[in-house]
């Protein structure tokens, strides 16, 4: 085997790929070959590094140089300078916005400093399509330990002791879930991996599957051993082609290596995994709907009990965990449950991955210990609010979550604190809002999503959420009254109380949480017919300040609706009845005479 002295890791996650990272790989390989270095320098398509804001990312090991926003055209220089001459290409290094210093090693960047990567431990560090690299990083050792040193009950107990809770939304204790599934006797049981990640903006599961697929296979096998299941099922979104491809390859490689199939590692334990594709329904992330979908039925939740642990896939006991939950499992066995339980807060152990997005400087995938504050995530890791604007709220928990205001900035993030603050962990979406965001609009956006994604089975979700959305539309159009706000709140609470599944029970959360935290903003819409953030088009007016208007007629010329009139060199006026609020006049006026009101 050739002695490889250097690895060039290029992010092959979906985000960087769409920014031409695969072209970078080709360019690097061509250049390395041209320089005659193909034997000693290896280019690896790695998983997501998380710092999507600065993608595409190229990392060179062993010196851990972290290049950001690389283009295929940069390949030549990277090879010629860094690889051949050992000189770093400083223009491609990350620049610290505070100190303006060039930082070469990612561990010194604010974005990574406070992160602790457990679920994402291998993402960006190995070639996900090479099982050997996973094994070299202690892969499948946890499975070996479970199979040969522990009884199934001890495996369950270890997970229980770790305090791991489901990362998919509900936060149910994983060990307890395994224990319940293990307690049922059946001729067949199933381990189901929920890879139907659907929260808008969340992509941690995709990143794990793309960057470290073997960790999921290993964890599912451990779970199979623990609960007595010989079959595993991955329910994965068909809209994740890269994740599908990598997981498929990983399953084949695991089978070929004897890590899936009969008598794994020579033990009595047999386990194999099948993949099923979701057809793009958010509700299929709900475990009973997921199971129906697996059975080729309409993806609709069913009443619980019975829970899947008792009667799941084909009526057999089934344990459903999501990707991120599984990604934590091997580490718990390698480093021990005590180590895992030492991270986090009293009732929330380990770390949580957040998909940081919105009006924050560093968007990307962030993994922090439970108990990290919102301020640390948004201001330290996220680098603060874009364009120096003021922080308004952080929306967490996806469409089922709520908005956290400034007063919660220093609250340690964990399952229970988020619920107490009127939001939830969800799958870890975190969207940062600034002063320009209208909270009615935010509620409308999330509710619009759930209305679209409701399966339509139960009345409160099917009709109730639609009615709430209509009320929100009325509010943002200035047609609602204060009485409507009361009705909105009442309907929201009844939908929570009566809906069949988690989707309906949590759909009103964005409405309730914005009503709770931003009631004044709602009042401004209904009482003063005004949108303080200036986002609600129907409530906004463009007006011309006669003192500043020179009568140049430019605005009247660009107005597509013929709404502006006035004589040359005399102040113009906008006819509000005709105005379509396109903003053309506002953009055209050279004298700053037009303003939004």
């Amino acid at each position: 085997m050739a002695n490889v002295r250097m690895h060039v890791l290029v992010c092959g996650g979906t985000g960087c790929t769409s920014s031409r990272s695969l072209e970078i790989v080709d360019a690097l390989r061509a250049e390395i070959k041209a320089q005659g270095l193909a034997e000693e320098v290896k280019v690896v398509i790695a998983g997501c590094f998380g710092f999507c804001e600065k993608g595409p990312i190229v990392k060179i090991s062993p010196d851990n140089t972290f290049y950001v926003q690389v283009t295929p055209e940069d390949a030549k220089e990277i090879v010629a300078e860094h690889i051949v001459k050992g000189r770093k290409v400083s223009r491609l290094l990350y620049v610290d916005p505070k100190t303006t210093e060039h930082i070469s090693d990612s561990k010194h960047m604010d974005f990574y400093k406070k992160q602790l990567r457990i679920a994402l431990r291998n993402c960006g560090f190995l070639d996900p399509e090479n099982i050997g690299e996973y094994i070299a990083r202690d892969g499948y050792m946890a499975l070996g330990k479970a199979l040969f040193e522990m009884t199934p009950k001890e495996v369950v107990d270890e997970v229980k002791k770790s305090g791991l809770r489901g990362r998919g939304g509900g936060g149910f204790p994983t060990g307890l879930k395994w224990e319940i599934a293990a307690s049922y006797k059946a001729d067949q049981k199933y381990v189901i991996c929920n890879a139907d990640e659907g929260d808008p903006g969340a992509f941690m599961d995709r990143s794990v599957l793309e960057g470290d697929p073997h960790s999921i296979i290993e964890a599912m096998a451990i779970c199979g051993y623990a609960i007595g299941a010989s079959k595993g099922v991955v329910y994965i979104r068909a809209e994740y082609p890269l994740a599908v491809e990598r997981l498929q390859k990983a399953i084949v490689a695991a089978r070929e290596t004897g890590l899936l199939g009969n008598n794994i590692l020579g033990s009595d334990f047999s386990f194999d995994i099948d993949m099923y594709y979701g057809a793009g329904a958010f509700v299929c992330g709900e475990e009973t709907a997921l199971i129906r979908s697996l059975q080729s039925e309409r993806g609709e939740p069913t009443s619980k009990p019975p829970f899947p642990a008792e009667s799941g896939f084909w009526g057999k006991p089934s344990n459903v965990n999501n990707v991120e939950t599984f990604a934590n499992i091997p580490v718990i066995f390698l480093k021990g449950a005590e180590w895992f339980a030492s991270i986090g807060t009293a009732k929330s152990k380990g770390t949580k991955v957040f998909a940081l997005a919105g009006k924050v400087n560093n968007v990307g995938l962030v993994e922090v210990p439970m108990g990290t504050t919102l301020r640390e995530v948004i201001f330290d890791i996220g680098g603060g609010i874009r364009n120096g604007k003021k922080f308004k709220a952080a929306q967490t928990g996806g469409p089922s979550g709520g908005c956290l205001t400034e007063k919660f900035l220093d609250t340690p993030i964990d399952y229970d604190n988020l619920i107490a603050a009127g939001s939830m962990m969800g799958s870890g979406g975190m969207i940062v809002l600034d002063e320009d965001d209208c909270m009615v609009n935010v509620a409308k956006f999330y509710l619009g999503f759930t209305v679209e994604e409701s399966c339509g089975k139960c009345t409160p979700c099917r009709v109730g959420n639609k009615r709430m959305l209509e009320m929100l539309e009325k509010i943002s159009e200035g047609k609602a009254t204060e009485k409507d706000l009361g009705r909105l709140r009442e309907l929201a609470s009844i939908i929570k109380d009566t809906s069949l599944c988690g989707l309906g029970q949590t759909a009103p959360n964005p409405v309730l949480s914005t009503l709770d935290n931003f009631y004044d903003e709602y009042l401004a819409h209904v009482r003063d017919k005004r949108c303080p953030a200036g986002k609600c088009k129907s409530l906004m007016q463009y007006v011309i300040d006669p003192a500043k208007c020179k009568g140049c007629t430019m605005c009247a010329k660009v107005c597509p609706a013929g709404a502006i009139s006035g004589k040359v060199k005399e102040p113009h006026v906008i006819n509000q009845d005709k105005c379509v609020k396109c903003g053309a006049c506002f953009a055209t006026c050279k004298f700053g005479a037009i303003s939004k009101r």
């Binding site: 009443s303 409701s454 399966c455 339509g456 089975k457 109730g464 209509e470 009442e490």
Partner: protein
């Protein structure tokens, strides 16, 4: 047993019971809408989707659907707190906010479960009226009319169509607010695998699925001075029609019905039972023929013979078992036999052309509407049966004709197509056709009169039944299935060779047979109603002086005067049919 407390009262129920079951035991009537439980017939819809039945369970975060929540030891349930009542009221307001308010002209008015709830909840305004209501095109087939604007997604129809009947014509389509139950790709029901059994209509709580109403055509025909209008009524109708006039389920109204029909102006009031006796003559002869040939070593004989009286079952096997088209009896159904005899024999007797004769059938069935429109049952475009109406439509016609049904005298059917035996009456319930056939076949086989005509082994409401009858040296193996899902089970097990070979099998599409047909008065989920109708049918049989089809004097006369003999040339031409291969999806 599980102990729990509901509204302060203690109750003990078996494990697996729901809160709804337990409450019922205490006399607490929790309102339901989507829930349906005809347990003895295997018909259970536990979608828990409407959320009308929500109750408060101590220690539970949200409200629980009583219909689908199993009881647990020590459970404390409250069914009428402010929280519960407000939730129910809101759920109902939401349902109504997406429902047309055309109760006055709705076919389901007075029988609508949603309307009943609105009345029960004293709803006087709706706080949650919404703007856009989803609008679907109406789908009208020869038998069933669908108006999905009235669908409340209870999924009862889907349960009937998929789980009970295994037809699979209806399923949920679209998402969220636009979700609705429809055939795949929103194709018209007529183009789908629908068998028109009408069980979806029988259980629909609103006016979303109703029969296609032909009652006005009946009024027009009677009013037409150029037409001679005759009516035939199926056996199951007389055991249920009374319910529409407030009579106890299971009341027989044969005589009143005949009087009402005469008063309405039909020229002749006949009986489908006459044609049922005729069916036994033909089907019995066919059974005898196949068995005799089989016993003499003819390997080409297809056994078991399957009955063919039920048009939904006929359409079902045409779609689902196109390779078995030569197995069922070729005998037409009683409705169509009647039509063929009326339009030929009777028209000749009356000296009028067939076009002048209008044959109306009153059926417990929706598939009969489809059946009489099948092109092979028409001569030069003139159908043997012109109009088929349901028991429910007949009740409406009687009311419209200002007839006080309760005070009517006991009338009688006209001659010659009105005479019938007890064997014909039991066609109306599951097992009846095969019992009637057995009465005749056994006498023909042995040449000796039966000691006892009651073959009780063939009776009951179990979905799949079998019985062995000793007839001379032969042991007749008979199977019975009602509900198409049970029929499928039976056929598949015959195919798989997991059951002993049968000689004859009776199949009826509807739960309980025709008494539970899609055209009968709505049972609103009451199992007892179906049971009582069955009892009434057997009562009618017992009261008859003649209880074997081949002893019907008018049938004997018909063969002497006109048909010749069973399976003869004329019979073959008028009373037998053939089947068509149809697509599977």
């Amino acid at each position: 047993m599980i102990n729990l407390n509901i509204d302060g009262k203690y109750v003990k129920v078996p494990k697996g019971a729901t809160i709804l079951d337990a409450a019922k035991q205490l006399g607490i009537e929790i309102p339901t809408l989507c829930h349906l439980d005809l347990h003895d017939l295997g018909v259970v819809n536990k979608a828990a989707s409407c959320r009308i039945c929500v109750v408060e369970v101590k220690g539970r975060r949200n409200l629980a659907p009583a219909c689908a929540t199993p009881v647990t030891e020590g459970m404390e349930v409250h069914t009428n707190t402010m929280r519960v009542l407000n939730a129910r009221k809101t759920v109902l307001e939401l349902l109504l906010s997406d429902h047309p308010k055309d109760c006055l002209t709705c076919a389901k008015s007075g029988q609508c479960d949603l309307q009943d709830l609105a009345e029960r909840f004293c709803l006087r305004e709706n706080r949650y009226e919404g703007g856009a209501q989803s609008t679907y095109k109406k789908d009208v087939s020869p038998a069933i009319a669908r108006d999905m604007d009235k669908c409340i997604m209870c999924r009862r129809c889907e349960t009937m169509c998929n789980d009970v009947q295994t037809v699979g014509a209806l399923s949920g389509v679209n998402r969220g607010f636009n979700a609705v139950v429809a055939p795949a790709f929103d194709m018209p029901l007529e183009e789908s695998v629908c068998t028109f059994c009408g069980q979806c209509v029988a259980v629909c709580p609103t006016g979303a699925l109703v029969e296609r109403d032909y009652s006005w055509q009946v009024i027009e025909a009677i009013a037409d001075p150029d037409k001679v209008v005759v009516v035939q009524t199926a056996p199951a109708v007389r055991a249920a029609l009374g319910e529409c006039f407030g009579m106890e389920p299971g009341t027989l109204v044969t005589g009143k019905m005949a009087s009402a029909l005469r008063q309405m102006g039909f020229n002749y009031v006949f009986d489908t039972d006459f044609a049922a006796d005729l069916t036994i003559m033909e089907e019995g002869a066919e059974l005898l023929d196949r068995i005799t040939r089989f016993l003499s070593g003819d390997k080409s004989v297809r056994l078991p013979i399957l009955t063919s009286c039920c048009p939904a079952w006929v359409k079902f096997f045409e779609h689902q078992y196109p390779d078995l088209l030569d197995v069922p009896s070729t005998a037409k159904s009683p409705q169509q036999m009647f039509g063929a005899i009326a339009k030929n024999y009777l028209a000749e007797k009356l000296g009028i052309p067939r076009e002048k004769l209008v044959v109306v059938s009153v059926m417990p069935c929706l598939a009969k509407k489809y059946e009489c429109a099948r092109p092979e049952f028409a001569v030069n475009g003139n159908p043997d049966v012109d109009i088929s109406i349901t028991t429910r439509e007949l009740a409406h016609l009687i009311k419209r004709a200002n007839i006080d049904f309760m005070s009517l005298p006991e009338g009688d059917f006209d001659s010659p197509l009105g005479e019938s035996t007890g064997a014909a009456v039991i066609f109306g319930t599951t097992g009846g056709v095969i019992e009637a056939a057995t009465r005749t076949a056994v006498e023909w086989l042995t040449g000796k009169p039966l000691d006892d005509v009651n073959f009780t082994a063939l009776r009951g409401l179990e979905g799949c039944r079998e019985a062995k009858l000793k007839v001379g040296d032969l042991e007749l193996h008979i199977g019975i299935a009602h509900e198409l899902g049970n029929a499928r089970k039976l056929l598949d097990s015959i195919r798989a060779g997991t059951v002993e070979p049968f000689h004859a099998i009776e199949i009826m599409a509807c739960p309980g047979g025709c008494i539970g047909g899609g055209g009968q008065p709505y049972h609103h989920g009451e199992m007892e109603i179906i049971r009582k109708r069955a009892q009434a049918i057997y009562r009618e049989d017992e009261g008859k002086t003649r209880r074997k089809s081949h002893e019907n004097p008018d049938i004997i006369k018909l063969y002497e005067e006109y048909l010749g003999k069973p399976l003869g040339e004329k019979s073959h031409h008028l009373l037998h049919t053939h089947y068509f291969k149809r697509h599977k999806i």
